[in-house]
Structure formats: structure tokens, C-alpha cells
Symmetry: C2
Subunit: 264 residues, 2 copies
């Protein structure tokens, strides 16, 4: 363990910078915050390259275990002042702890369509909280992965990682342009399904088939028409009120659980 003093120390600056997408892109590393999340990571075989915590913290057996594992793996364990840690995490919490992880490869080739009966697909999902929530749902429904199409929020942002509740470490993740995804999908078995207001099946009685790819669109615009047209199945969910859409992460979950019941 090493001690770092001062707020302008290069390590503090570089950790702080990982809150910015630009820096993450360049460094290909990301931050995960909180003992619970870091413990989830550890339990799934992911140790941070660097672990940072405040000097004045209370001891905790899970934190001790984490420190021991990171040190055993030749990782970097650093102690900072509370002020320096607050600068990194943006939170005034002396119990805070954060870890720096290498980004995972997110090529489509990492997705195995034979590994599960369903997959979740998000198109241009802009809200990192929604994106993390979708990863969390994917874990719950046993999805074989989450595929991010076009310009989605960064799944390695602090907000998305937090909302994923650890699923960022366990759910296979891919990022691709639409054309690339479509070509990959059509190169093997796979049913592409989307919720739609256009002519479509009742989502409770639709002929889902594994491997089923459940796709939801952008928060404001929904799916582009030509993407919807490419789907093998368009389903509609009851919308009994004034609004004509659900929150995107909610739509993915309601449809995901329905598909799980049908083909899981």
C-alpha cells in the first residue's frame, strides 16, 4: 500500500479524469465505486488494477479481503486524504473506496448466441442509468448479453457501472453500428423483436423463438422505422394512459421477462 498526499498528485488527477468519457476512451480504463460493487467484481474474478481509499476509513472485512487480493495480484493499492478521495468520487464520504479496471473488449464476436435463450439490445440509449439498469435486468433474466447499437451512453461511465449493480462485470457486452449488428445477426439463428405501435402482435401471445434479441430504442425518438421494419416480430404492450411509451429500461425489462417466460 502506498500513501498519496496532495490534491494535485498525478494519480489523483488521473483517477479524477476517468469520470470523463474522453479520458476513459484514451486510457481504456474505468472507475467502479463502492465496496459492494468492488466486492461483486472480486467475486466474479475481476480485480482492479488500482484500488483507492481514504486514510481515515473504518476497517471492514470485505475491504481487507479486497486489499489482500489486489496486492497479491500485484495491483496498486493507494491511500489518499479524504479530500483527495472526494475529488475523485465527487462525494463527501470517507468510507468511499474506488477501483480502476481495464475496459472489457466489446466486439460482437464476444457474444455467443448459443449461450442463452435471449439477449437485450439497446439502440442509441442515451441515459447511463437506463443502460446500467438494462445490464442489471439482463443478469436477472439470464440474458446471454447486452448489445449496444449506434450512439449509446458509455457503459463504462461511473453512472452506468453503478446502476448495473455489478452486472457490468458479469453480463457479456458488445457495441456495434446497426449495419454491423444486422449482418452479424443474420449470419446465424436469431429472432429480432421490438416493441412497436405499428401493426404488431400482443406481447403476451407473440411467437417468440430462441435465441430472441429484444431491442429497445432511444429514449426520445424510439427505434428508427427501418430498424423496426428489419425486426422479425413487432409486439405491442398495453399503453392504457396518455403516454405512448415506457421508460426504455422498463420496456426492455417487461418484454425481457415475457420472452423469458416463453422461451427460457
Amino acid at each position: 500500500m502506498r500513501r498519496i498526499t496532495g490534491l494535485s498528485n498525478p494519480t489523483v488527477k488521473s483517477l479524477r479524469a476517468l469520470r470523463d468519457k474522453k479520458h476513459r476512451r484514451r486510457e481504456r480504463r474505468f472507475l467502479a465505486e463502492g465496496l459492494r460493487l468492488l466486492t461483486d467484481a472480486r467475486e466474479t474474478g475481476h480485480l482492479p488494477a488500482m484500488l483507492a481509499m481514504a486514510e481515515g476509513r473504518e476497517r471492514h472485512p470485505l475491504l481487507d479481503a479486497l486489499i489482500a487480493d489486489v496486492e497479491a495480484a500485484d495491483g496498486d493499492v493507494v491511500e489518499l486524504s479524504e479530500a483527495a478521495l472526494a475529488k475523485i468520487t465527487g462525494k463527501d464520504n470517507p468510507q468511499a473506496v474506488c477501483g480502476v479496471f481495464e475496459e472489457f473488449d466489446t466486439a460482437l464476436s464476444g457474444i455467443d448466441r448459443k449461450s442463452a435463450p435471449l439477449f437485450l439490445v439497446a439502440q442509441a440509449m442515451r441515459d447511463p442509468g437506463n443502460l446500467g439498469t438494462m445490464l442489471r435486468t439482463a443478469d436477472a433474466v439470464g440474458a446471454g448479453g447486452v448489445i449496444l447499437i449506434d450512439d449509446c451512453a458509455d457503459p463504462f461511465s461511473v453512472e452506468a457501472v453503478r446502476a448495473s449493480m455489478g452486472a457490468i462485470f458479469t453480463v457479456p457486452l458488445a457495441q456495434a453500428r446497426w449495419e454491423e449488428f444486422r449482418d452479424w445477426l443474420r449470419s446465424g439463428a436469431g429472432q429480432l423483436v421490438a416493441a412497436s405501435l405499428r401493426e404488431s402482435h400482443d406481447y403476451r401471445k407473440a411467437p417468440y423463438a430462441a435465441p430472441c434479441f429484444v431491442m429497445v430504442g432511444n429514449e426520445s425518438r424510439g427505434l428508427p422505422e427501418d430498424y423496426e421494419a428489419e425486426c422479425d416480430l413487432r409486439v405491442h404492450m398495453p399503453m392504457l394512459g396518455r403516454a405512448d411509451s415506457l421508460n426504455a429500461a422498463v420496456a426492455a425489462a417487461v418484454l425481457g421477462y415475457e420472452v423469458l417466460a416463453a422461451v427460457g
Copy 2:
């Protein structure tokens, strides 16, 4: 329409202050931002007491209609500098517009259990985004209302209002302590249902009965044991991955849609 100049004008200050819960509590007024949200409000018969927008904005027919209606109802329409508006909304968007509304009454007596087959109940839900999303889902499933138990996030916060996508104006909303809610519930017909890890029914085959009250708990702690024990029905949803819970707004939606299919 009146013009306001300067950043320290009392109107600007009082609008800015509505982002704070303390001030909202005292004033019993809340902010809603964006033309879409304000138009939703107008279309459901809710006009702001005050409407504020930037001087340099572009004209828009929906905004013109809104201004006309607010003025016809003797509301206050104000034009501000872009800087003053940015101070209020926290956003650098000269097209921004915001309205100030009177808070609604949120007594339990405003909920009519005969009005719908299902209702959503949140206990100690702390995230305003989750809370707004739940309101939005309640609109979609045709719920007769959302009931907030114990210390929930403020449904009138800017974040909750935004996430509700207008449902704050259309879905009946109540706030109550647990004991008060329980007494009210037991004074008439009503089945209380919660997702649970304890001995419980498969959520796809459970004997739901209208009016059904679907309850979800706090984001970190879930429902207190004694609240769960008070439920008429405990159901479990598949959790096939590492995690043992869903995002609270997601859980409410998956269960809400299931109940809708059974009793709707």
C-alpha cells in the same frame, strides 16, 4: 407578459429556490421544465401559475398556445435573460421554458380503489428518477394511483417530474406512513402484493385479485420484513444471474404488467 432583468431579481431567486425540497415544502409549488412536459400538463388541464422563458427564444406554436392559455387564466408569464433562465433550470438551453405549479393534494383519501384494477405502491423509494419512472409506468398500466409509503423521494422534485413524462399531472398520487396506508387498505377491498425472496408464488401464476396493490421497497434494503408479512400475496420473479433484486422501478413495472394481464 412581463420582462425581468438581472440574476438577483426576487422572481429568479424564488424560481431557483424551487429546485430545493425545503423551499418546495414551504411554498407548496413545484417546477416543471420543457415544452413537451408543459404541453402535457396543459392538455390535461393543468396550467402553471407562472411560466418563464428566455428572451431570445425561437417561436413555437405549442409555446404560443401555452402563453395564451396561461395569460387567459390570469397566470404570470415572464421573459428572462438566457443567463437568468440558465440559473433557474441549471441548463444552458435558450429554448428552455419552465412553469411553476401548485402542488397537488396527496392525501390517501384522494385514491379511489374502485377506479382501477391495480395500484402501485413504493416504500421508501429514494431515487427521484425511479419514482418518476414508476408514475410513468402507472399511467401505462392504467393504475388508479401511486401511493408513496414512508420516506420516499419528493415526487415534486424536478427529476421526478421529468422522469414521469407528464404522469405527475395525470396519475393520482398519495403519500402516507405505513400504518396509515395499512389501515386505509384494510378498511375496504384490496390485495397487497409484493415481490419476495421468501416462500412465495411464481409471479406468472399467482392468484392476483382486483383491486391489486403492487408494492416495491427501498432500492438498497427492499421491504421491511413486517411489511412483507402483511402482504396478502408474495410472489417471486426469476432471478437467474448473480443479483437477487431488480431496479425498484423495473420490478414495479414487470409485476404491474403481470397483474394487469391477470386482472385488468
